[in-house]
């Protein structure tokens, strides 16, 4: 009798284990049936985000370490779950931001980016992987976020934010995070947030510096209150020409996530009238206390002149992208193609090749026979460098049997700075240095790598 009881108990335990395993398997299957991520190419109306009545046991376990914080608690967590956030730009700022918002259990994440993943993004845009190269950034970010927390609703938008679609999109979200990489988009997002009354958590980063402010929040200023005019396009440096250390936007994106979470949970942001600056070199933070919004602001002031979205590329004089602009400063006879230059080399025609990039870029790659004098040194007429240039011109004159205007070709990365340098050198020719014939090599070293020497590195 006791023996039969015992074996029944063993059998029952076995069956219980089987049932548990089946339940687990079913749950996993159900999860994998979550709707596939659909890439949105345009703005469509979203269903309203429903508030959870209570946290599930799984929620409690997942968020337990933050539920323990009196600053968040169950109420704050439930608030997060009913908040939607639009992330404008899935790059160096947007990646860490989206990652922490999803991990913390935000309700809905709109992930907007027009670009595809490139190898040169991976050092800072940490949601994307090597296998995502060439894929839409919005989709790549959404799939990474989904792996982290499948309960967060993710909407990837593969589109360029424009005056036509911005209001419709932004109106559907509770909080907007500006993680963009260019000036026109920053003014567009600002104006759209002011016009639709949404708080704008804005961060930016370049080289070793970062900035963070929450605009249009509880009577605080908007972006235009601080910067009524956009910077002249020629003074704007972006990450593709100025460089950026990946961890710097990482830090700023994390700070941005912190402020979004404080607003979404109901705690409130402390950056509404504060400009936080991060100096990566000194590892220092500094905050500037701002004033309330300006009565004379063009968009959030008392008599606004901007009452609907305008053309921001015209307003800023630049395109809504961080890709380099191509300048056209010279006439056709002042420029040669990289192929023309290749034949000059092949013919061993005597000439001087002047590389006007900064030293840090010359260290990355250069043509072995070039003379390096950075554009800034030419513009400032640094005497040692001008002397060096004159020596090279004299040597060249000897080779060219007294050619009274020996040829100097100027090269840089993409062919913008080299055009500026040609203009400077033409002014110097015949006065500050001997007379020369100066020409720009169109498209620079990147064109050289693309059309003449595929083994030459691109950056």
């Amino acid at each position: 009798m006791a023996e039969e009881e015992c074996s029944l108990k063993v059998l029952l335990e076995e069956k219980d284990r089987e049932i548990a395993a089946l339940k687990c398997k079913l749950a996993q299957l159900e999860k994998s049936h979550a709707p596939a991520l659909e890439l949105h190419g345009k703005v469509t109306p979203l269903t309203p985000l429903r508030a959870k009545p209570a946290l599930s046991n799984e929620d409690i376990m997942r968020y337990s370490r933050q539920l323990l914080l009196p600053e968040l608690g169950v109420k704050g967590q439930l608030n997060l779950s009913k908040t939607s956030v639009l992330v404008v730009g899935c790059g160096g700022l947007g990646c860490p931001l989206a990652q922490y918002l999803a991990a913390a259990g935000i309700g809905r994440l709109g992930l907007l980016d027009y670009d595809e993943v490139e190898l040169s993004n991976l050092h800072r845009q940490v949601l994307h992987g090597e296998e995502n190269q060439g894929h839409a950034k919005a989709l790549s970010a959404a799939s990474a976020v989904r792996r982290l927390n499948s309960t967060v609703e993710c909407i990837p938008y593969h589109l360029q934010l424009s005056p036509e679609n911005a209001l419709q999109l932004i109106q559907q979200y509770d909080i907007v995070a500006d993680c963009s990489d260019n000036v026109p988009t920053r003014y567009l997002v600002n104006d759209a947030c002011v016009l639709s009354g949404k708080p704008l958590v804005s961060a930016s980063a370049l080289r070793m510096e970062g900035q963070l402010t929450v605009y249009n929040y509880r009577g605080g200023p908007c972006y235009r209150c601080l910067y009524p005019l956009p910077p002249p396009p020629e003074t704007v440096t972006n990450c593709s020409d100025g460089g950026v250390l990946g961890v710097v936007p990482g830090i700023m994106g994390c700070l941005q996530a912190l402020e979004v979470l404080k607003i979404a949970s109901g705690q409130g942001s402390s950056c509404g009238q504060q400009l936080v600056m991060f100096d990566g070199l000194g590892a220092k933070f500094r905050s500037i206390r701002l004033r309330p919004k300006q009565a004379d602001c063009a968009v959030c002031g008392e008599n606004p002149s901007v009452t609907r979205l305008v053309d921001y590329e015209t307003f800023c004089g630049s395109a809504a992208t961080d890709k380099c602009r191509k300048l056209n400063l010279l006439s056709r006879d002042q420029r040669i193609t990289v192929k023309d230059y290749k034949s000059i080399l092949d013919n061993s025609d005597p000439h001087l090749l002047l590389d006007v990039r900064p030293l840090v870029e010359v260290d990355i790659c250069h043509l072995p026979f070039s003379l390096n004098i950075p554009l800034s040194n030419l513009e400032e007429r640094k005497s040692e460098q001008i002397q060096l240039l004159q020596e090279k011109i004299s040597q060249l004159k000897q080779q060219t049997a007294g050619d009274c205007r020996p040829p100097v070709f100027v090269i840089c990365k993409l062919g913008n700075d080299s055009q500026k340098a040609v203009q400077v050198l033409e002014k110097m020719s015949g006065s500050e240095v001997d007379s020369i014939t100066v020409k720009d090599i169109s498209g620079g070293l990147m064109a050289w790598a693309q059309t003449v020497d595929p083994t030459f590195p691109q950056y």
Partner: protein
């Protein structure tokens, strides 16, 4: 009556490129001075800063000041910061 004091000016982002000043610069400034005159004084030292006119935050003792008639009373060692926006991300 007008007194001179020496303030410490910090240039951030693009303003560091335009002025060529990395780190801080000591500048003798009369006090009291209007924020407009303070800005003009910085422009005289670094004419290339004019590219940032109306496109920059000027802060004194880590507080935003609108560039205008607003009168500032400065003391030796006060921090003046020139902060243009960064747009990268």
């Amino acid at each position: 009556m007008c007194v001179l004091c020496v303030v410490c000016v910090l240039y951030f982002a693009q303003s560091a490129d335009l002025t060529g000043v990395r780190g801080e610069e000591s500048v003798a400034v009369p006090t009291p001075i209007s924020s407009q005159d303070l800005w003009t004084l910085l422009l005289r030292r670094h004419p290339r800063l004019s590219a940032l006119q109306r496109r920059v935050v000027l802060a004194v003792r880590q507080q935003y000041v609108a560039i205008g008639d607003h009168l500032l009373t400065l003391e030796d060692g006060d921090e003046v910061a020139v902060v243009p926006p960064l747009s990268g991300g």
